[in-house]
């Protein structure tokens, strides 16, 4: 039985944090779910889509996070429960709408799940999304383990309805992508009807138009809702204290750091000296709870990821209560007891407690540690990130890099977000020179393209994948075309959202629930905007480079669509187009005339340098049979034959 459909209350499952959130939403009777994919949040909508039929849920991959939230919000004000999921930086995209949602209020329970990625394990930023709750004035929940991920999600819908306000629920990679045991609850019925009521006067929360004007009364209403949230949070079972009545040290923590803190205290055998206040309702903070727990001791340690959010908010309350609770010594990120950047580990908490309580502890005997490190340095060579064998991006960046070098005017590529972000690393020949948010490659390029009046004559290219194109690149492209910016926009079309697992997007033929939808054609879109559009197959390296060189001689907004399907795409995986081999007699190897171009520079994992033979060889198991290496071999030593 899948955890998605099991009706047996109390049944026990080993669930990923994201799955626990899914089950919580199902138990709350969610009717609409929307998201833009982003690690570590993607599985939430992916798995809800599997329950779409049986649980009567509308699930969609939206074009971007802002629209995703708008879609979920429509369900809420039509009286349904809805969930919207995104990664940390997605909240930035959605934040403009979020600000207005807070002000207008909501009806059916609406929960925004935002998954932060401390340590940037799968991100190019370490964004902290909790501050949005404070800035935009919304309640914020943070589950401290897997069971809570389920229960808190379920409760978040009730809370949202009780307050008439969207509830933010924050997870982190080590919770979303970790698994633990969860006992499930029961599932409600699936019969729901939607209707948007607007007949009452504006400001009537239940059945008036949903607007934010006039602003002052709406803002006052919002603050009343937050006060109510505080009252509810004072009694919340998600705020727990474990430890002695009067500990020497109080750890105030939340989210996955709760698990690290427990682990650290146990490792140090400090259960009788350290208490842990795990806060589940991190905004707005319940002051009585904080007062009661800060009163236990004078030494406080904050353990959290990413920024000192809990730390600073508790300190404000502590300052206000100083007369009652006395002066405290605070440790945390602000005094560098806990690192300000990177993800937390049990070891970092051990370190912090050790220093505060002066406990002697070493995780390994020094001799063992030194020997193990020495062996690892010698025997475990670094694994650089690289594109998969047969990945079209390797060929695309090869072409981009070579065309830019041949053109010889210090041209460059503005990178974007997707697998092809790796275009800034050696596997992409270090071709991308900027890398920021979704769609910002073409946005930055649009700006560069207007600097010709200041003597800038470098060719400017921007790359972007087909999913990112629809997400946020489109407005920037419109900007470049409208402002006559001299840029070349290269669409790396690999037919899917490869990075996060082939979710559909507006250019594909299916939607999140597997239904057929008409695919949108980026080329037609770009042409209608007024750009010239050309196509290239990046595997045809000579033709692609020739097109790029020609485009670089032209002016205005130019679009080149490099089309080649992702090597991992279900349609392509495991099917070799070519059988590739190396004629070792012809291979020039590392001598003048080649210097191992294929293995040293092109570096496809399917090509291996055989130092003994002084020639390259193909690893049959790894080679994906794209045949590109045969086109770049200067000696004609790499041979490709059509695979039968």
């Amino acid at each position: 039985m899948s955890y998605l459909f099991d009706e047996e209350k109390g049944a026990r499952y080993l669930l990923m944090g994201n799955d626990a959130i899914v089950r919580g939403a199902l138990e709350a009777g969610v009717s609409v779910a929307s998201a833009y994919p982003g690690t570590p949040s993607s599985e939430i909508i992916e798995n809800l889509s599997k329950a779409s039929d049986k649980r009567n849920i509308y699930v969609e991959w939206s074009v971007n996070e802002k629209v995703a939230l708008e879609v979920a919000f429509a369900a809420s004000i039509a009286g349904l429960r809805s969930i919207c999921a995104m990664k940390q930086n997605g909240v930035n995209v959605a934040s403009d709408f979020l600000l207005h949602v807070a002000l207008s209020g909501s009806r059916g329970g609406i929960v925004l799940v935002h998954c932060d990625d401390p340590g940037a394990l799968s991100s190019i930023n370490e964004g902290e999304s909790r501050h949005f709750a404070k800035m935009i004035e919304l309640p914020l929940l943070e589950p401290g383990d897997f069971q809570e991920a389920l229960e808190m999600t379920r409760w978040a819908f009730e809370l949202s309805e009780e307050l008439g306000l969207l509830v933010m629920l924050r997870s982190v990679t080590r919770l979303s992508h970790a698994s633990g045991n969860v006992r499930i609850g029961s599932l409600p019925g699936t019969d729901k009807t939607a209707c948007f009521k607007y007949d009452a006067v504006p400001g009537d929360q239940a059945s008036g138009p949903v607007v934010t004007m006039p602003v002052p009364p709406h803002h006052e209403a919002l603050q009343r809702k937050l006060k109510k949230a505080v009252a509810l949070f004072e009694k919340s079972p998600f705020n727990t204290y474990t430890g002695p009545e009067k500990p020497e040290l109080l750890i105030v923590t939340c989210s996955a750091c709760n698990l690290y803190s427990r682990e650290a205290v146990r490792l140090l055998g400090a259960e009788n000296r350290v208490g842990i206040l795990k806060v589940g309702t991190t905004w707005p903070l319940p002051p009585d709870l904080i007062r009661k727990n800060l009163s236990r001791t004078d030494t406080i340690l904050f353990v959290e990821e990413v920024l000192p959010f809990l730390e600073e908010n508790v300190k404000i309350l502590a300052a206000e209560m100083a007369k009652d609770i006395g002066v405290k010594t605070f440790h945390g990120k602000n005094d560098s007891t806990i690192p300000m950047t990177g993800e937390m580990t049990p070891d970092l908490v051990v370190d912090a407690i050790k220093r505060i309580l002066k406990i002697d502890y070493a995780p390994m005997p020094e001799t063992f540690r030194n020997k193990a490190r020495e062996i690892a340095a010698k025997m475990a060579p670094v694994r650089d990130l690289t594109f998969c064998p047969g990945c079209p991006h390797r060929a695309s960046f090869w072409n981009l890099h070579n065309a830019l070098e041949i053109d010889n005017r210090r041209g460059f590529v503005c990178g974007d977000i997707g697998c092809y972000t790796l275009g800034l690393l050696p596997c992409g020949f270090s071709t991308s020179k900027t890398s920021h948010s979704m769609g910002s490659g073409i946005g930055i390029a649009s700006g560069f393209g207007k600097l010709t009046r200041f003597g800038m004559d470098q060719p400017i290219l921007a790359v972007c994948g087909d999913s990112t194109f629809f997400h946020a690149a489109l407005p920037a492209l419109v900007n470049a075309i409208h402002n006559k910016s001299d840029v070349i926009f290269v669409l790396l079309d690999n037919s899917g959202t490869a990075m996060t697992g082939f979710q559909p997007h507006p250019g594909t033929e299916t939607d999140a629930m597997g239904g057929n939808v008409p695919p949108m054609d980026p080329a037609a879109l770009c042409r209608s905007l007024g750009a010239t559009v050309q196509y290239a197959d990046p595997f045809d390296v000579d033709a692609t480079q020739a097109i790029l060189l020609r485009l670089m001689e032209e002016k205005g907004a130019r679009v080149l669509i490099m089309q080649q399907m992702c090597a991992l795409s279900p349609e392509k995986k495991g099917k070799k187009k070519y059988r590739v081999s190396v004629d070792q007699e012809k291979c020039i190897g590392d001598r003048c005339g080649c210097s191992r171009l294929c293995t040293r520079v092109f570096r496809c994992p399917g090509l291996v340098w055989d130092a003994d033979k002084g020639a390259a060889v193909i690893d049959e198991v790894i080679c994906a049979g794209c045949g590109v290496c045969a086109s770049i071999c200067p000696a004609g030593a790499i041979v490709r034959e059509e695979a039968v």
Binding site: H401, N402, E405, I406, D407, N408, F429, L549, D590, R591, C592, G593, C594, S595, R596, L597, R600, V601, I632, P634
Partner: protein, 369 residues
């Protein structure tokens, strides 16, 4: 001792803006490409010593060694290099009148060389609009199509390298002084390749005072005319002070000062006006546009001229003393300016001096320059 590889080439030539885009390093390996008159290095290479560096006419050129390899003697201090004789010459009756610059001597010699099977193919430089395009020619009648001066620097040696890769031998070439210097180094087999055979049978050099940067000239002319329809360029002798650009719709005069701005930095350090390392060199003849100045340098060059005269491809005449003196004065001035500039900037050194040099000459450089 002074051998090095591609990474030094990049540092010493490309990054110092000394590359003239001759193509000597192109088509030997996948790392160098010439495009729009400039050579680029695509990726770092790991060779500590490479043909690219050894062939480059802009770094570590040992003039004495090049000269010894070609003439059996060290570098000559003569302003026009080592030579056997200087004549005036022009195309003979056997040559179809083409749109040559001046007397058509180069067209005549190459046509003869192909027609008389003295060479199997000629590596020449054509033009698409302003862009010089090297080509390999085997038909004598096709040579005339490549006549007339190009003025923008050309990767002619890239086509030569490609031809050699494809197995061609017994080649004739028409080269500018920098290209000819690179070729002279190539023919010395500096990397001591076992399989090396000299594929060159005849080299005609062109007098050159400077070349022009293709992109810069194109961007300048594109404002003035349809560059695809340019038929011919000419720089008439002083005091004209212009470059003449002939198009379908007539002639445009460009002030010479505008042109000089577009001379690559590299030409400022070039000591060679008359293509000193060739079999013969050809240039303008001072008194008449109907004739060329012909410098015969080698026995092979002499034989080619003799044959061409005998078969009616070439006419020759005496070179007036005064003309020769003028030629030497002009060539000497270029040489002196370039060597002084190079010496002053540490680019011209003796064989014994340390550090990188563009050019090495033994003996008293200061005195010579």
């Amino acid at each position: 001792m002074n051998a090095a590889g591609p990474n030094e080439l990049r540092a010493e030539v490309f990054e110092k803006d000394l590359c003239i885009g001759c193509g000597a390093c192109v088509s030997l390996c996948p790392y160098f490409k010439n495009y729009n008159g400039k050579t680029a290095m695509l990726f770092p290479c790991t060779q500590e010593e490479g043909r690219c560096f050894a062939y480059c006419p802009k770094v570590e050129v040992d003039l004495d060694a090049v000269s010894r390899n070609m003439y059996g003697e060290p570098y000559s201090m003569d302003p026009i290099g080592r030579y056997r004789s200087v004549m005036k010459s022009r195309a003979g009756k056997m040559v179809t009148r083409a749109d040559f610059q001046a007397g058509g001597t180069v067209t005549a010699l190459m046509t003869y060389a192909l027609a008389a099977n003295k060479i199997d193919a000629a590596v020449l430089t054509g033009r698409d609009g302003l862009l010089p395009i090297p080509a390999v020619v085997t038909e004598p009648n096709a040579v005339a199509g490549f006549a007339s001066s190009k003025y923008t620097s050309a990767p002619t040696l890239a086509a030569f390298n490609q031809a050699v890769r494809e197995g061609r031998r017994n080649l004739g070439l028409v080269l500018t002084p920098c290209q000819a210097l690179a070729l002279a180094q190539m023919r010395a087999n500096p990397m001591k390749q076992k399989e090396f055979v000299d594929p060159v049978s005849f080299v005609a050099g062109l007098f050159c005072t400077w070349a022009l940067d293709y992109r810069s000239l194109r961007d300048f002319l594109v404002e003035k005319t349809d560059i695809k329809k340019i038929q011919k360029f000419d720089i008439p002798p002083p005091p004209a002070g212009v470059m003449e650009v002939y198009t379908e719709s007539g002639k445009i005069d460009i002030p010479i000062d505008e042109i000089r701005k577009r001379v690559p930095n590299s030409c400022d350090y070039c000591f060679d006006m008359t293509a000193e390392f060739t079999d013969v060199s050809v240039g303008v003849f001072e008194d008449s546009t109907a004739w060329n100045t012909l410098v015969i340098r080698t026995e092979r060059g002499q034989a080619m001229v003799d044959g061409a005269v005998k078969d009616g491809y070439l006419e020759i005449g005496e070179m007036p003393e005064e003309n020769l003196a003028h030629l030497k004065l002009a060539a000497g001035n270029k040489k002196k300016r370039a060597l002084e500039r190079g010496r002053g900037q540490g680019m011209v050194k003796t064989a014994k001096e340390g550090g990188r040099a563009a050019i090495r000459i033994d003996g008293d450089i200061a005195g010579m320059a």
